[in-house]
């Protein structure tokens, strides 16, 4: 059975949109950083360029888009009453932008003050977000796999930020803490505990709804989040500074869970009722294939340890995970959610006797298709750069153009919305676009 949506508690359209419109420009910055720094960003996960690049994507692009999505999704699909969403967005949105910029600047300059400001700001802003959204999720009468995924995703975000703030403090004051193990746990909670669980919880709704697939299997949807939580807790034991060899199997277990989600989604897409493939479906398919690719790569690295020891293997996995899985999935979701929200808000303003324009007029499909192709070309080049690092500047350039086009397409959709809404307010008799 498909889940229910209710738009009576939906926040004003500006609440999610400010986050959606900001996210792509962090992707542009990530691409430009690659153009600037070139091969040094490929060589190791620990260079300042690589850390800055990782966080431009994870905190800039992903966290912006996902925060906006949560503020929209929790009231509409989870029945959670988010208190004062506009005020929360007014604080969280600029706070996250500033914190991300400070953090990236800290990595690039190794300036302790920037790190400490970034860490403090993240704790405050994300703390507010987790408190408000967490309260809404705890109080909602709704039950089911999506609610559980969202609740645990929020826990994942809180843990990620706590660990991240601890890491930047340790870097800032040069504490002799086990930074590698801390970073491994921080990355796992960020990508697995927060991003993957949020993607899964939202997918349980939007994949059947927009891609006309059957519903996700109930037992799988109920078990994924708590099982992944157990894996993350065991993985977290290494923060004490010791990472015994069996932790490699914990890592593989977590990636296997993620791969099961990927295979399930691909299987549902294969069984979809309508055979037409649109860009959202293709973005999602690409994301799931990359998620599968992460597990396959990890297994190969386990069988051939010399590959795992190669510093560029971390870059390879990072490209699959960040631009491969999450930037792809977010691209696909935004191209459905933004026109859909436009349509719903315009319909409410128009009343029964009139219809808003077709969703395809809000973002032309040709523009979406061009941007999608650029995204996957960028992804291919980024992966190829792991083998031929001299490709990385071109890859960065294409990534920047792709993200810029995404941003431009979304701006176009918002301009379309505003223009039509203004015509409704002006009482124009003929509202043909």
């Amino acid at each position: 059975m498909h889940p229910d949506l209710s738009f009576e508690q939906a926040p004003p359209i500006s609440v999610p949109y400010r986050f959606f419109l900001t996210a792509p420009w962090f992707g542009v910055a990530a691409g430009l950083l690659l153009v600037w720094f070139g091969e040094v960003a490929v060589m190791s996960r620990w260079t300042s360029a690589t850390l800055a690049l990782t966080h431009l994507l994870a905190v800039g692009f992903m966290l912006q888009a996902m925060t906006g999505a949560v503020l929209q999704f929790v009231p509409v699909a989870a029945g959670g009453n988010v208190s004062r969403p506009t005020l929360v967005a007014n604080v969280v949105h600029p706070g996250l932008v500033l914190a991300a910029l400070l953090l990236v600047a800290g990595f690039l300059s190794s300036n302790a003050i920037l790190f400490r400001f970034a860490g403090t700001l993240f704790l405050l802003v994300v703390g507010l977000f987790v408190a408000v959204v967490g309260t809404a999720l705890l109080r909602t009468p709704a039950r089911g796999a999506t609610i559980m995924s969202l609740r645990l995703a929020l826990v994942g975000l809180a843990v990620t930020v706590l660990l991240g703030a601890t890491l930047v403090e340790a870097i800032a004051v040069r504490k002799p803490w086990p930074l590698v193990e801390f970073a491994n746990v921080h990355a796992a909670w960020g990508l697995g505990g927060w991003a993957l669980l949020l993607l899964a919880g939202v997918s349980y709704y939007v994949v059947p709804m927009f891609q006309l697939t059957p519903a996700y299997p109930v037992r799988f949807a109920r078990l994924l989040a708590p099982t992944l939580l157990v894996v993350l807790l065991v993985w977290s034991l290494q923060v004490g500074g010791s990472s015994p060899p069996w932790q490699r199997f914990v890592w593989l277990a977590g990636l296997t869970l993620a791969a099961v989600f990927a295979v399930t989604t691909l299987w549902l897409q294969h069984r979809r009722r309508r055979r037409v493939s649109d860009p959202t479906m293709l973005f999602f398919r690409g994301a799931m294939l990359c998620l599968l690719g992460v597990l396959i790569s990890a297994v190969v690295m386990t069988i051939f340890p010399s590959l795992a020891d190669e510093p560029r293997s971390a870059y390879w996995l990072g490209v699959l995970a960040l631009p491969g899985v999450f930037v792809s999935a977010i691209n696909g979701m935004l191209y459905k959610i933004v026109p859909f929200l436009n349509w719903l808000h315009l319909q409410r303003a128009m009343g029964l006797g009139m219809l808003p324009p077709n969703m395809k007029e809000m973002i032309p499909e040709r523009a979406v298709t061009v941007q999608m192709r650029l995204h996957f070309i960028a992804l291919g080049l980024l992966l190829a750069a792991a083998i031929w690092p001299e490709l990385v500047r071109v890859a960065g350039g294409v990534l920047a153009v792709s993200c810029g086009l995404l941003g431009w397409n979304l701006i176009g959709a918002v301009r379309f919305f505003r223009a039509f809404r203004d015509r409704i307010r002006a009482g124009e008799p003929n509202l043909a676009p």
């Binding site: 738009f7 309508r274 349509w343 319909q347 029964l352 219809l355």
Partner: protein, 71 residues
């Protein structure tokens, strides 16, 4: 004879668009029947605001059969 809109193969908001177009010309004593794979709260919000009533029955295959008429 009620009008029937089968929205089970359609992406949102196409079922909603077809419903709104049909309701605009629906005679007072006729019913509109919608077949969907979900519980369409956005449609119900609109119906409630515009003076329509409806019944909903879920079939064995998961189809929601929604019968709408003027209050």
């Amino acid at each position: 004879m009620p009008r029937v809109i089968d929205g089970r193969e359609l992406q949102p908001p196409e079922p909603l668009e077809l419903a709104l177009m049909a309701l605009d010309t629906l005679p007072e004593d006729e019913e509109l029947v919608m077949l969907l794979y979900c519980h369409p709260n956005p449609l119900f919000d609109i119906l409630r605001r515009n003076g329509y009533v409806w019944t909903e029955a879920v079939q064995d295959d998961g189809t929601h059969e929604i019968r709408i008429r003027k209050a």
